[in-house]
Subunit: 365 residues, 4 copies
C-alpha cells in the first residue's frame, strides 16, 4: 500500500474511507491514545496531575505530518518512536518522562488501528444498510418480473427476478449480523506495556486498562500483542463485503451483454470507449468483480499474520499494516459502487419476459 493513485481514486478507491484510514487519521488516533492515557494515569494517580495536564495540552496542539515519521519508521521499524520523540521535545522536563508512560509502541499503534476500525465499521454498515434498502426497493419494483434463471452459463428455467435480487440481499443481511458478533471481539483496547504484562504498573494494570478502554469507547481486554485472530476475522468480513457486492456485479455483467440485454448498469449510461462511441460499458460491475478478487487475495495475508513468533514479530505484523487499510478501502469502494448500481440500474422487463417466452416456446411442446 505504498503508492496512492489519484487517477484511480474514485474508480478503485473510496475517498471517505481513504480519509478514515489515512496517515493523518492514524497519527491523530495515536495522539488521542496518548492523551487519554495521560488523563487516565492522572485520574488513577499514576503520574503527577500537572505533568498530565502539560502532556494533554501539548498533544492537543502538536502537529505531526506523516513525512515527519518516515525516517524514524525506517530506522526503528515502527512509527511510534519518532512520533513520541517529536512530542517529547515539546514537553518540559517535569512532564517528559510521563509521556507514553509505561506503555509500548504497539499499544498505541494497535489501539489507534482499532479506533479506525470502529469508524470504518460505522461507515461500512451504513453502506450495507443503503445497499439493502436499494435492493428492497428494486425487489418491490421488479421482483415479480419473470426472467430466465441461468445455471452453468446456460438458460435453465424461468424464475422471478426477485429470486436473483434475493441472492444479492440475503448475504447483506448476514453481514450485518456478523459484524455485531465480531465487533465484541475486535473493538477492544490494546494495552500491555513492553512485553504484554503491564508489569510496569504493578497492581494498577487492570484498573488502568479498564479506565482507558472506557475513555476511548472500547472494550477492556488483556494484551493481545501476539494474538491477531480478531483482526483476521475482521479482515474476512471486509473481504466478504466485496465478494457479496461482486455477486451482483457478476450478474449485471451477464445480464447487460448486448445479446441478453436484460439490464443496463446505470440509467444514465455506462463507460465509453475511446474509439467506439456506441459502447455502454458496465464499468462499475467490472470493478466489483475485480475488487472482490483483490480483497480475497489480501485475506490470506491477514491469516498469515497470526503466525507470530514471540511477544512481538514484525515479519507477521507488517502483513497487517500493508493489508488492513487497503482492505477497508476496497470494501468501501465495492459497497459504494454497489449502492450506486442498485439505485440506478435500468431493468428491461420487456426483454426479460420476451426471453422467457422464447425459451418456453422452444422447450415446451
Amino acid at each position: 500500500m505504498n503508492y496512492q493513485s489519484a487517477i484511480y481514486s474514485k474508480y478503485l478507491s473510496n475517498e471517505k474511507m481513504v480519509a478514515l484510514v489515512s496517515d493523518e487519521a492514524l497519527i491523530e488516533r495515536i495522539l488521542k491514545f496518548e492523551a487519554a492515557l495521560a488523563r487516565t494515569q492522572q485520574k488513577l494517580g499514576i503520574i503527577p496531575s500537572s505533568a498530565a495536564e502539560t502532556i494533554i495540552s501539548t498533544l492537543a496542539k502538536t502537529e505531526i505530518r506523516p513525512d515527519d515519521l518516515a525516517q524514524g519508521t525506517m530506522q526503528h521499524g515502527i512509527p511510534v518512536i519518532a512520533l513520541i520523540g517529536i512530542v517529547r521535545d515539546l514537553l518540559n522536563e517535569d512532564s517528559k518522562s510521563f509521556l507514553h508512560y509505561g506503555v509500548t509502541s504497539q499499544d498505541a499503534l494497535d489501539t489507534a488501528q482499532v479506533m479506525i476500525a470502529s469508524e470504518a465499521i460505522t461507515l461500512l454498515t451504513r453502506m450495507l444498510a443503503d445497499f439493502q434498502n436499494n435492493l428492497e426497493k428494486l425487489d418491490n419494483a421488479y421482483g415479480l418480473t419473470r426472467c430466465m434463471a441461468r445455471t452453468r452459463g446456460q438458460l435453465a428455467a424461468p424464475i422471478i427476478f426477485g429470486l436473483r435480487i434475493n441472492s444479492w440481499l440475503k448475504p447483506v443481511q448476514r453481514q450485518q449480523q456478523r459484524i455485531k458478533e465480531l465487533s465484541t471481539r475486535v473493538l477492544k483496547i490494546q494495552l500491555g506495556g513492553a512485553v504484554g504484562d503491564l508489569a510496569f504498573f504493578k497492581t494498577n494494570g487492570k484498573a488502568l486498562t479498564n479506565e482507558l478502554a472506557s475513555q476511548l469507547g472500547l472494550a477492556s481486554a488483556s494484551s493481545w500483542h501476539a494474538q491477531r485472530d480478531t483482526l483476521a476475522e475482521f479482515g474476512n468480513w471486509l473481504a466478504m463485503c466485496s465478494s457479496i457486492a461482486a455477486k451482483m456485479g457478476a450478474d449485471v455483467l451477464i445480464m447487460s451483454q448486448n445479446e441478453i440485454g436484460e439490464v443496463e448498469e446505470l440509467n444514465a449510461g455506462g463507460g465509453k470507449s475511446s474509439t467506439m462511441p456506441h459502447k455502454n460499458n458496465p464499468v462499475l460491475s467490472e470493478a466489483l468483480v475485480a475488487i472482490a478478487r483483490l480483497n480475497a487475495s489480501l485475506q490470506s495475508r491477514m491469516l498469515e499474520g497470526l503466525v507470530h513468533g514471540g511477544e512481538r514479530d514484525a515479519t507477521a505484523w507488517i502483513l497487517e499494516w500493508e493489508t488492513i487499510r487497503q482492505m477497508m478501502i476496497y470494501s468501501a469502494t465495492s459497497l459504494s459502487h454497489a449502492v450506486k448500481i442498485s439505485s440506478e440500474i435500468k431493468v428491461h422487463t420487456d426483454i426479460m419476459e420476451r426471453t422467457v417466452a422464447t425459451f418456453m416456446a422452444k422447450n415446451q411442446k
Copy 2:
C-alpha cells in the same frame, strides 16, 4: 485436491478427518439426503408411499464406489447425475421417477457437504477442547516460570511463561465462541430445486424444506445456491484453527533452537536426520507453521467462490470443491499436532530462568 499422498498421510494430514471428508463419506451423505427426501415427500404426500419405501430400501442397499462416478462427473461436471443414474437403474418403473423428485444436483451436493461440515465441526471443537485443556495444564505446571520475552527477534524483558501460554490459549477460546455463532448460519439445508425457487412443489416447498431439514438435523433455509458467504466464513474459521496452532509452533521453533534451549518439542525426542544422529528436529512445529500458510492461501479461494454468476456457476463452485475438504484436513492436522505438542512438550525451566538471570545481570546495573 487430486492426489492423496499416503507418505504424508500422518505428517501433513489427519486420518480421522480424511475419513469424514472422503468420497465415500460424500456418497453416503448424498444417499442419506435422497432417502430423507423420499421419506419427507412420503410423509407430506408428495410421492406415493410405496415408491418412497422402494426408494428408501434401495438406497439403503446401494453401494456406489467413487470410481463409479468419475466418468459421469467428467461428462456432466457434477457427480450427482451419475449417482442418481446408478440408483435409478436399480428401481422399478413405479418408483424410478420419484427418486430425487423435484430437486437438483446442487441440493444433494451442498446438503451433503453441510452434513460433513457438521461432523467436522464436532471433531474440530473436540480437538480445540483438548488443546485448551493441555494448555491449561501446561500453565498450571509452568505458568509462573520466569522467562525472557522476545520482541522483534530480540530479548526484551522478563515475563512469566504463562503469558506466552496465554497467547496460545486465548485464541482457542475465541475459536470456540466463533463456531457457535457461525454454526447457526452454516449448518442449514440446501433445497431449491432446478433454479432455487422450489417452483416444482408449488405451495409445498416451505413445508418440505422444514420437514427435511428437521429429518437431517439441520436448520431450515431458503435456497442459497448462489449465496456462498456462509461457507466462506466457515473457511476462515478453519484457516484460523491452523493459524492459532501455528503461533505455538512458531514459538516452539524459536525456543527449541540449540543456543536457546528453553523447550524441546516432544519429551520423547524429535525428528532425526539421515546423516546427523544428534539432531532433534521439531518437525511438528515446522508442519504447524507450514500448514497455517497453506490454509491461509486456500481461504482466498473460498472468498472468490462468492463471485457467482447467475443461479449456478461452476467456475466459482469448483473453487469450493477443491478447497473446503482440504481446509478441513489441514485444520484437523494442525490441531492434532498442537494437541500432541501441548501434551508432550519438554520445558527446561532451569534454562528459562538462567537466561533471565544473565539478561538481568547484563542490562541492569
Copy 3:
C-alpha cells in the same frame, strides 16, 4: 494435497500426471537415485565395488509401499529416513553403511522431484504441442469467419474469429519457448550432503556430482538446498499453462451462452442437468477457468517457499511438497481439457456472421 478424490479424478485431475507424480513414482525415483549414487561411488572408488553391487541389486528388488513410510515421515518430518531404513534392513553388514553414503535426505528427495519434473515437462510440452496443433487447425477451418469482438462485456466491432484464436495460440507458443529456457535451470541434480558442502567427500565432491548428474540425465550443479528459486519459476510456468488454457475457456463460456450461441463446447454435447434435459453445459470450460484460479493461488506458496531459514527449513520446504505435485496435476488437467475443446468445439459460423450483420445494420447508417 492430502485427499485424492476418485470422483473428480477425470474432471479436475489428470490420470497420466497423477501417475507421474504419485507416491509410488516418488519412491521409485528415490530408489533410482540411490542406485545411481552407489554406481557412481563405485566407479569413482568411493565405496567398495562389492558393496555397490549388493546395494544396486537390493534396491532393484526392494518394494516399498507409500504406507510403509507414513509413520516414519510423521516422526522425522521427511520420508527418506524411513525409506533408507527399510532398504538398509535388507542389506548385509558389508554394504549397510555404504547405502545413501555421505548424502542427505534432501539430496534424494529434491533430485527425485526434479526427475519427476523432467517427465512432467515432457508430458506437458506434448500437450501444449497438441493444443497448438488443434488451434492451428481451428484457425485454418474458421479463422476467416467474421464475428463480433467483445470488449468490456459489450459488442465492440467486427473481427475475424482467427484473431480470437490467435489470442489462445500465441501464449502457447511462448510457453514452449519459456520451458526451454527454464529447463536449463530446473533440471539439475541436488547433491550437497548433510549441510550442502559435500565435505564428507573431500576432493571427490565435484566429480561425484558431475558423474551422478550424467547418470541421471540431469545437469550438474552445486547444492541448492536452500535456494528454491528455480522451482518457483517452474511453478509459475505451470500456473501459466492453466491460465492460458482458461483464456480459451472464458471465451467459450461467453460464446456458448444461449442468446449468443456462437459455439458449443463439444460437438457431442455438453453436461446435463439432473432436472433440465435441455441443458448443454460447457463444463470443461468451467473447469478451465476454476483450475486457473486454483493454480494461480498455489503459485504464491511456491514464492513463499524461497523464504528459507538456514541450510534447510521445513516451514518453507513443506510449502513445495504440498504444492508442486498439485500444480503439475492442475496444469495437465487444464491442457488436457484444452486439447479436447480445441479439437471438438462446434463453431456456428452462421450465427457469428449474423450477429455481425445485425450489429452493422444497427450501428452504421
Copy 4:
C-alpha cells in the same frame, strides 16, 4: 494500491521506484506514446503533417495532473479517455481528429506500462548488481569463517560462512539471467486499435507498428490486448526479487538473535524500542521477510489476470492495474534493504567459531 502511506514511505516502500511508477510518470508515458504515434503517422503519411506537428507541440506543453483524470476514470473505467479529451480540447479543428488516431485506450495504457517496466528493470537490475557486488565482498571478507549450519531449526554441522552467502548470491545471478530472457517478451509495443486487428489502418498496420516500436525503443509485436502472459512472467520475476532478498533476511533474523549473536543487521545498530533502550532490532530483515510474503500473494493476481474474456476484460485487467506497480515498489524496497544489509552487516566471526568449537566438543568424542 489506493492509499500511499508517507509514514512507511522509506521502510516499506522505495522512493525511486515510486517516482518511476507514479501517476505522473504514467501520464507522461501516455503523452509520449501519443506524440510518437503522431510522428510515426506523419512519417508514414497516415495523418497530415501539419496536424502531426500541432499534436506533437501541444502534447509537449500539456500539463495533466492525476486528479484531472479521477472523474473520467470513474466514468469510463479507464483513464485514457479523459486524458485524450483534455488534449483534444487544446487542439485546433484541423488536428483534433488526428490525435490518438485509429488506436485504442489500451494501446496507450499498455505501452505506457511497458515503458515504465523497462525503466523499472533498469533500476532493479542495477540494484541486483549492487547486491551481488556486496555479497561478493562479504564472501571475500568472511567466506572462510567456520560457522554452524542450521537445518530444521537445529545445529547441524560446521560449514564455512561462504556457503550461506552463496545461497544468497546464486539466486541473484539467476535473476539477472532470467530478466534478459524475459525482457525480449515483455518489452514490446501494444498496438491493436479498437479490437486488436489494426483494421483501421488497412495495409499500413504492420509498418506503423514497426516504426512506432522503433521510435519508443520497444520490440514490435502484434496486439496482445487479451494475452497477458508476458506481464505475469514479469510479475513472477518481481516477486522472486523480494523472495531471494528475504532468504538473506530470514538468515539474519536467525543469526542476530541474542543467544546466537553471529551477526548484527547493521554496523550502526538497529531499531530501538519505545520502552527498551537495550534493543537492537533487525528491522530491515523483518521487512524483507514480510515484503516477500506480500509480493508472493500479489503474483496470484497477475496469474488470474490471464483469464481474460473476449478482446478486453476489465475484470481481469484491473487486477494488473492494482498489482504490477505495487510489485515493482515492493521489489525495489526489498533490493534496496538487501543492498544496505549486505553492505553494513556486522559479522561476529569470533562467535561463529566459538559456536562451532562448542558443538564439536559436545558431539565428537
